[in-house]
Each structure stands twice: as structure tokens, then as C-alpha cells.
């Protein structure tokens, strides 16, 4: 499949105003000719189909996803089949003690207990995952910056156990850490500020926000985050994952409806499940699917009782980390306004990375932050720290201060981490004396472009060492090509560094943002 000049590989119709329609309309509308004519006549002047409204997007929004070639798909399935057969064979050999059993087993005294793991769960880990286990969890021993030092490890028993040789592979080009803006460094103003706060406050807090763990640093941080996002108030939490899983249950409960994107992160899914609300999934980034669900929800109400829903919450992410796609925010906001739903936007990856001044996907599309009811994000990626935040109206934040699970039961953020976030955020906002100014525009765009030019990392088993070296070679070449072509601007206090992010190792899609 050769890409057309416009860059789209898949069957997408490009409309006259430059927008890309989201595929053929499959589900939802009654499309028999008589009814369509009647509906069109009756509903003159109303917006049915927001994607046709080119006015929502200020610039053309093109996304291209390469379809998996049929051959690759078939071979992948065949591969899985072969591996499963081999897995059964090995299990058989292990059972009859022909092959040595490496994995840990239950204690003798507890052999008559019900077995802790289900058969199939363990089958995958033992026979499939073990073969390629060395691709993940590689320990590093330096700052996760542009270049990183990896600890060399070897396995003499086919990945069952690893031995560290003591060697350190220095200066490996890092395309695996979420260090989008380069704030993960061990020198510079952020580190110095964090060191000072560490000396003064210590590393831990030992209490929760509502008890005696609310430091003045936390109040300062929340005020800054609110200003950064352009919202009335914000609240910060110690873990990004926990921000979702502990606050969604505080916002919605039984009798509410959650409309969640197909490919939402595990934290959003967990938060939705813990809340007890009904969850309905819409197809990834598909606005027709979302609209249909909204319509049906309001018209038909709750299942069985037909009572109206108490509230409807739409859960989307700014950038989906596994796909590299950006949410169609203008359309989502138009839908939310029409159907009076609430929007929860998880900007874990997009905050700091999108938009001319790094304010995230809302700024990228030129929208008003007040339109998004709950703006959530994390400090792990672009700010080089850890933790999460939620921003929104003052009533929302007041409610979360009193009812969020994290505020009542979980320890607050560690002070040096808070200082790192404050310093890096001030840097991005230009309040520390340095400035991003005009170059920030290209920086924002370039970063996303780079994020998406995910040099494709193929999923080979680590044993094929020469192939692995070839893989890194290919990746290195691609990196260098990009390096020369793309305009970028580093953050002013450092020598400009290009940040390439890939999702290792099975990312098979290319994504380009115009």
C-alpha cells in the first residue's frame, strides 16, 4: 500500500474543506432513502453530524493509520499458534520431568490448597512471555535523558533468570523514556531547587492531605497548576494512576453513565469500574459511535428501569499512548454541549507536549479550557517528576478536596518532587527568566511529530543478537535522518536536544501530525 501524496494510506474521504471524515457511517442513523429525506426536511438547521461541520477545526486535522497488511496478520496468528503448540509440548516435558522446571512452585505444605493461578494465565507467562522477556524491564543506571546507561544482563537459561555482568553500556540513545521536554536531568535549575527543598523538608511526608500532610508547597503547586492550565483551581495527587482510579469514583456513582473510549488507559478503566456506574464503550475516536451512544442513553434511559441517567461522563485521553492518536476534541466538546454530558480529559501524555505553549490538547485545538469539565494530567512525562493533577471549576476542586479518596487516605506528594514540578512548570510558562517564545511553537509541534514518527521497532526475540543490532542500527539511521530534517528548538538553557519517543517494542503504526 503506497501512501498517497496527502499521506493517507487508508480509505478516508477528504472533504472539500480539508477535514477528514471518520470513515463511512456504519452505525447510527437511519439511512433508508425515504426516511433520510424526511429527516433532512424535518431537521433543517440542526447539526446531526458534527464531523461535517468544518468550522470546528481551525486547521486541517489529518490522521493516518497504516492498516496491517494481511500477510503480517496471518503470519502473526500462525506464530501464536506454533508457540502455543510448543508451549503444550514443553509443559508436557516438564510434567514428566524430562525437562528441568525453572519456575517457582508452591510450597510443599500448601500443595493441597486450591492453586493460586489459573492454568491459562500462567501458560502465557511460562511459554510465550518467557521467550522474549529480556525485551522489557531493562534496568538503567543514569538519568533517563537523551542518552542513557543500560546495565548489561545475560541469561544462561533462556530468560528464566538474569545475571548482571557488571558492564554498563554507556551512551545508548534513549527512545523509550517519556522525557518529552527534557526536564529529567541531574543538573540545572530544576535539580538545584529540588535539592534545596530536599535539604529543608526531607523526602517523605508521613501523613495525608486532610490530616497534617498539606504543606505550603502543595498549595503553591496547585495554584501554579491552575494558572498553567487556565482553570479556576487545581488539586495535585501523589500518583498519576491513582488520580484516575481514586477520583472518578468520587465524581460518578450508581445511576450514572460513563462513556469511555475503546483504548483508554488501565487507570481510567479501573476508576470507571470502581465507581459502580454503567460503562459503555465507543469505538476509538469515532464521533458517530459516541453520538449514537449519547442519543440512545438520553432517549432510552437506564436499562430495565428506563429512569433517566443522573449524569453522563465522557472519558477520553489527550493522546492515546498505544496508538499515537489525538482525540477529536472539538467534536467531543460540541457533542458534550449538545447532549449536556460532562467531559473528563486525561492529558497524561499531551500536557506539555501539545500546543504552542505546551498547555496541552485544548490549546492545540484552540479551544477554551472552561469547556472541559475535568482536566486531568500527570507530571511524570513532560515535567520529569511524578504525580497527577485535576483542574477545573472551583466547586469541582472543593468537592474533590473533601471527597477524593486520595486526599483522605493517601500520602501527599513528596516535597522535592513538588519543587521539581514547580520549577519545570515555571520554566515552560516562561516565568523563570528564560523564554520559549516563537521557537516554542515549532518545539511543540516538532515534539509531537517526533513522538509519532515512531521508528518502528520490530518484535524480535532477543536471542537473535545480530537482528537486534540491526534493529538498533535501523533505528539509529532513522533518528539521524529525522534529526537533519526537522526543525526543533531545545529549551533555552540546554543545548538543543531532540526527544524521540517511541512505544517499544510492538508499535506498528505510523502517525503524522500536519
Amino acid at each position: 500500500m503506497r501512501p498517497e501524496p496527502g499521506g493517507c494510506c487508508c480509505r478516508r474521504t477528504v472533504r472539500a474543506n480539508g477535514c477528514v471524515a471518520n470513515g463511512e457511517v456504519r452505525n447510527g442513523y437511519v439511512r433508508s432513502s425515504a426516511a433520510a429525506a424526511a429527516a433532512a426536511a424535518a431537521a433543517a438547521g440542526q447539526i446531526h453530524h458534527v464531523t461535517q461541520n468544518g468550522g470546528l477545526y481551525k486547521r486541517p486535522f489529518n490522521e493516518a493509520f497504516e492498516e496491517t497488511p494481511m500477510l503480517v496478520a496471518v503470519l502473526t496468528y500462525v506464530g501464536y499458534g506454533v508457540l502455543t503448540l510448543f508451549g503444550y509440548l514443553r509443559d508436557f516435558l516438564r510434567y514428566w520431568r524430562i525437562e528441568k522446571c525453572h519456575h517457582a512452585t508452591e510450597r510443599e505444605e500448601q500443595k493441597d490448597f486450591v492453586s493460586l493461578y489459573q492454568d491459562f494465565e500462567n501458560f502465557y507467562t511460562r511459554n510465550l512471555y518467557m521467550r522474549i522477556r529480556d525485551n522489557w524491564n531493562r534496568p538503567i543506571c543514569s538519568v533517563p535523558g537523551a542518552r542513557v546507561d543500560i546495565m548489561e544482563r545475560q541469561s544462561h537459561d533462556y530468560n528464566w533468570s538474569f545475571k548482571y555482568t557488571g558492564n554498563i553500556i554507556k551512551g545508548v540513545i534513549n527512545m523509550g523514556s517519556y522525557n518529552y521536554l527534557g526536564f529529567a536531568r541531574n543538573t540545572g535549575s530544576c535539580q538545584e531547587a529540588a535539592a534545596k527543598v530536599l535539604e529543608e523538608y526531607g523526602a517523605g511526608v508521613c501523613s495525608t492531605r486532610q490530616e497534617i500532610g498539606n504543606l505550603d508547597k502543595h498549595e503553591e503547586l496547585e495554584e501554579l497548576v491552575a494558572r498553567f492550565l487556565g482553570v479556576e483551581a487545581a488539586m495535585a495527587y501523589g500518583m498519576g494512576f491513582a488520580t484516575n482510579s481514586m477520583n472518578i469514583p468520587a465524581l460518578v456513582g450508581k445511576g450514572c453513565l460513563i462513556l469511555s473510549d475503546e483504548l483508554n488507559h488501565a487507570s481510567l478503566v479501573l476508576g470507571a469500574r470502581l465507581s459502580g456506574a454503567t460503562i459503555r464503550i465507543f469505538k476509538h475516536n469515532n464521533m458517530q459511535s459516541l453520538e449514537k451512544l449519547l442519543k440512545d442513553a438520553i432517549v432510552y434511559g437506564q436499562p430495565r428501569t428506563r429512569r433517566p441517567w443522573k449524569k453522563i461522563l465522557i472519558l477520553v485521553e489527550g493522546i492515546y499512548s498505544m496508538e499515537g492518536s489525538i482525540v477529536r476534541l472539538p467534536e467531543v466538546i460540541a457533542l458534550k454541549k449538545k447532549y449536556k454530558a460532562y467531559l473528563y480529559l486525561d492529558e497524561a501524555h499531551s500536557i506539555g507536549a501539545l500546543g504552542p505553549t505546551g498547555r496541552g490538547v485544548v490549546e492545540y485545538f484552540g479551544l477554551d479550557p472552561e469547556d472541559v469539565d475535568v482536566m486531568m494530567g500527570t507530571f511524570t512525562k513532560s515535567f520529569g517528576a511524578s504525580g497527577g493533577y485535576i483542574g477545573g471549576k472551583k466547586e469541582l476542586i472543593d468537592y474533590l478536596r473533601t471527597h477524593s479518596h486520595s486526599a483522605v487516605y493517601a500520602t501527599s506528594l513528596s516535597p522535592p518532587v513538588v519543587e521539581q514540578i514547580i520549577t519545570s512548570m515555571k520554566c515552560i510558562m516562561g516565568q523563570d527568566g528564560t523564554s520559549l517564545d516563537a521557537t516554542g511553537q515549532e518545539f511543540g509541534q516538532g515534539t509531537v511529530g517526533m513522538t509519532c514518527l515512531c521508528s518502528v521497532v520490530w518484535d524480535w526475540p532477543g536471542r537473535l543478537k545480530y537482528l537486534e543490532r540491526l534493529r538498533w542500527l535501523v533505528v539509529g539511521i532513522v533518528w539521524r535522518l529525522l534529526h537533519s530534517h526537522v526543525t526543533w528548538a531545545g529549551v533555552t538553557w540546554s543545548q538543543a536536544q531532540l526527544r524521540l519517543l517511541t512505544r517499544a517494542p510492538s508499535c506498528m503504526y505510523l502517525f503524522r501530525v500536519a
Binding site: A38, F113, R138, L198, A203, D216, I312, H405, T411
Partner: protein, 437 residues
């Protein structure tokens, strides 16, 4: 023609339906996203601590002695811990920028896991970047829909969330009541005999805490181990409060009772209390712990612990190993203040004498929880005016399964001197008398 008329009727019906739908969409009004919070909600305005929350703490502008932070071993402002964290900060920066699977594993994390496993004398340990997420991710990794979990009524909120996420059958037994637990286990045995096929695939777990956060009592671990082998249930022990407090070397409730560590399937603790860092860990046999590396949600899908916090925890462990005498000192101080606080009119002490975090509850409730909370807050405020920093134990009233009565939490640390303890006891006595009578 007949078909044309039918078509016409169909179109009309569809049109009418369409208009109805539009009307319904127009009419529907959702509830506001969040209900308004009254301005005088007790939890709305937080106490602001200026400066470090160490032994002498400045709360809302007043300097007080800290009886509220869980800094049991006083390691929060220990210079060695700070130096180790600083060295790590200079080497690694602050954040790890990635989950454990994708270049977020640092040698510091591996070191900390090793040290924790060696300290607790288990095969393996796994660390999480948030204390709350530790037990809340560990339980659903093993217990799934259809499994049965026997849990104490006074279990903390993190355990409750873990159980909710696991979707298993929850059976609550009365707090520390082994007879009640045995009754439930026996009932389950009878059920099993009715349906042996199902029983063969249903796992059973008992989840208890070493030192209960909500009541300050110790779980009767030897009896639990006996029940474990009799009814074939696995034990998950949550040791957030007892790690670094109980036992001769601070290894927790297993050392306190002299139980073999292998008898407990999983020990989970957070490093935010005695170790004065952030995060949590689980330790146990490799057979059990290794599973969490792929199925612990808070481990796989979340960024790893910042290395400076891991280095602080390692140094704290070093200090714990070098001076095993501090645990005896802490125990003595707990006993002292426990005795001193007995006999306050209006307040009763809830918790064992060797628990460093215990509660003061109203002897007689006024009848409404709000009123109780207000009374206790009055006591806390007045103590704060007299330089003793206390706090009320906070709960989410609507979310807790078994809501504990309102109480004031008193925390004892090794840094508090005997006179400070005496002063605190007498202050609380005076204030309680003034407020409650």
C-alpha cells in the same frame, strides 16, 4: 398501492419518533457534576504546614510538637537519609519518566527490592510508587471473580478498594474475632461439600492487617495461621503500621509473634510510615510475588518510584538495621503515653499499649456524628493552640464499609522526649475537661 401507503405510514412513524427523540434530548437535565460543598465542611479547609512536617511542626502559623505524622522512627529529617536522597538526586534527577517495563527500572529500585527481601527474610520483594496502590493492586492480582476473601471489619480503605477491584465474594468477620472467622470458614466448608467441583477452583484468602490503622490493635496471627492450614486459605498480611515498629528488629508482626515468614503468603506494607519515604512494597515467596510483575496494575501501568525516594528508603533501612534498639525505645514511649492518657473523663483510649498510632474516642457519643466531629475538632484546635499538634482521623463517611466512630489520632515517635509526652497527656486532659464538661 398498498405498499406505497405502508411506506408512507412508516416514514411518518419514523419522523414522529425522531421528533420525540429530539424532545427527550432537549428535556433531559443532568445533575450538576458535583454537589455544592457547604463552606463549613470540616474537611474543606486543610491545615497548612509551613516547612517540614518533622518533630517541631509549624501548623497554621503556630509552632507545635508533632503528634500527628506517622514518622515513627523519626527518619523524616534524619541527615543521613537526606544525604542519600541528595546523592541520588544528583545522579538520577527527580523523575523516572517511565513505567518499570519501559526503562523505568533503575538499579536503585533493584537494590531496594533486594534489601527489603533480605530484611524481611523472604525470597523476593516488589516495590510500588504509591503506598495506597500497593495493597489495592496486590489483592486484585490474585483474587478474581468467584474467589472468596475473608476480611476483617476494621480493614483500611486501601484494602476495601483492592477488594472492590477484585470483584470477589467478600465475607466480613468481626474485628479480631477468630470464632467469627472460624464460623464463616466452616459455613464455606459446608458449601464446598455441596459443590465440590466449584470448590476445587475457588481460591480462598484471608486479609488482615498487622496493626490496624482504624483501631490500633494487633491481629492474632498464630490463630490465623492455624486456621489457614485447617481450612486451606491463604493469608495476605498488610503491615503498613507494624513494619518498622513491632518485633525485635522491626520486621513486623511475624517477628513479634515468632511465626515463620513462609507461613504468610504475602506481606504488603507502605514505606510512608516508619521508613519516612513514599511508596510501598510487597514481599513473600517468588512464586507469589513474581506474578505481580505482570498483573499488578499499579506496578505495570504506572511510572516507577523516583530514585531519590528509593535511595532514602534504602538509607532508612540501613539505619533500622544498625540500631535495633530504637524499636524498644518506641515501645517504651508508647506504653508511657498510653498509661498517661488513661482516665481522661469523656475520652477513652482505643488501641493497644504497644501501638504507636492509637485513637481517642468519645466515651459517650452525643448522638449525631457531626456533633461528635465538631467536639473533637474543638479539642484538636485547643490542643494546637497549646502547641500540641493533633489531628482527627479522617474517613470518607459514605464510602467506608464499616465506618469507625470519630476519633482523634495520637501518634508516638522516637523523637518525642518523656517530658513532651507528659506535657501532651496533661494538655489533652485539661482541654478535654474544658470542652466536654
Amino acid at each position: 398501492m398498498a405498499t406505497a401507503t405502508e411506506q408512507w405510514v412508516l416514514v411518518e412513524m419514523v419522523q414522529a419518533l425522531y421528533e420525540e427523540k429530539e424532545e427527550l434530548i432537549e428535556e433531559w437535565q443532568p445533575e450538576p457534576l458535583v454537589p455544592p460543598v457547604p463552606k463549613d465542611h470540616p474537611a474543606l479547609n486543610y491545615n497548612i504546614v509551613s516547612g517540614p512536617p518533622s518533630h517541631k511542626i509549624v501548623v497554621n502559623g503556630k509552632e507545635c510538637i508533632n503528634f500527628a505524622s506517622f514518622n515513627f522512627l523519626g527518619l523524616l529529617d534524619n541527615p543521613r537519609v537526606k544525604a542519600a536522597a541528595l546523592a541520588s538526586l544528583k545522579k538520577y534527577g527527580v523523575g523516572t519518566c517511565g513505567p518499570r517495563g519501559f526503562y523505568g527500572t533503575f538499579d536503585v529500585h533493584l537494590d531496594l527490592e533486594d534489601r527489603l527481601a533480605k530484611f524481611m527474610k523472604t525470597e523476593e520483594a516488589i516495590i510500588y510508587s504509591y503506598g495506597f496502590a500497593t495493597i489495592a493492586s496486590a489483592i486484585p492480582a490474585y483474587s478474581k471473580r468467584g474467589d472468596i476473601v475473608f476480611v476483617d471489619r476494621a480493614a483500611c480503605f486501601a484494602i476495601q478498594k483492592g477488594l472492590q477491584a477484585s470483584r470477589s465474594d467478600i465475607k466480613l468477620f468481626k474485628h479480631n474475632d477468630m470464632a467469627d472467622l472460624e464460623r464463616l470458614l466452616k459455613e464455606q466448608e459446608i458449601e464446598d461439600q455441596k459443590n465440590p467441583r466449584k470448590a476445587r477452583v475457588t481460591r480462598r484468602f484471608i486479609v488482615v492487617e498487622g496493626l490496624y490503622m482504624n483501631t490500633g490493635t494487633i491481629c492474632p496471627l498464630p490463630e490465623l495461621v492455624k486456621l489457614k492450614y485447617k481450612y486451606k486459605a491463604r493469608i495476605f498480611l498488610e503491615e503498613s503500621l507494624s513494619f518498622g515498629v513491632l518485633g525485635e528488629h522491626g520486621r513486623g508482626v511475624t517477628e513479634h509473634y515468632g511465626i515463620k515468614i513462609d507461613d504468610i503468603d504475602l506481606i504488603s506494607a507502605n514505606m510512608e510510615n516508619a521508613l519516612a519515604s513514599i511508596g510501598g512494597f510487597c514481599c513473600g515467596r517468588s512464586f507469589v510475588i513474581d506474578h505481580q510483575r505482570l498483573s499488578g496494575q499499579g506496578y505495570c501501568f504506572s511510572a516507577s518510584l523516583p530514585p531519590l525516594l528509593a535511595a532514602a528508603a534504602i538509607e532508612a533501612l540501613n539505619i533500622m538495621e544498625e540500631n535495633p534498639g530504637i524499636f524498644a525505645v518506641l515501645k517504651e514511649k508508647c506504653r508511657q503515653i498510653h498509661k498517661a492518657l488513661q482516665g481522661i473523663s469523656g475520652l477513652k483510649v482505643v488501641g493497644e499499649s504497644l501501638s504507636p498510632a492509637f485513637h481517642l474516642q468519645l466515651e459517650e457519643s452525643t448522638g449525631s456524628r457531626e456533633q461528635d466531629v465538631r467536639l473533637l475538632q474543638e479539642i484538636v484546635d485547643q490542643c494546637m493552640n497549646r502547641s500540641i499538634a493533633l489531628t482527627q482521623a479522617r474517613y470518607l463517611e459514605k464510602e467506608e464499609k464499616c465506618l469507625p466512630p470519630p476519633s482523634i489520632r495520637v501518634v508516638v515517635t522516637v523523637e518525642q522526649t518523656e517530658e513532651e509526652l507528659e506535657r501532651a497527656a496533661s494538655t489533652i486532659k485539661e482541654v478535654a475537661q474544658a470542652v466536654l464538661l
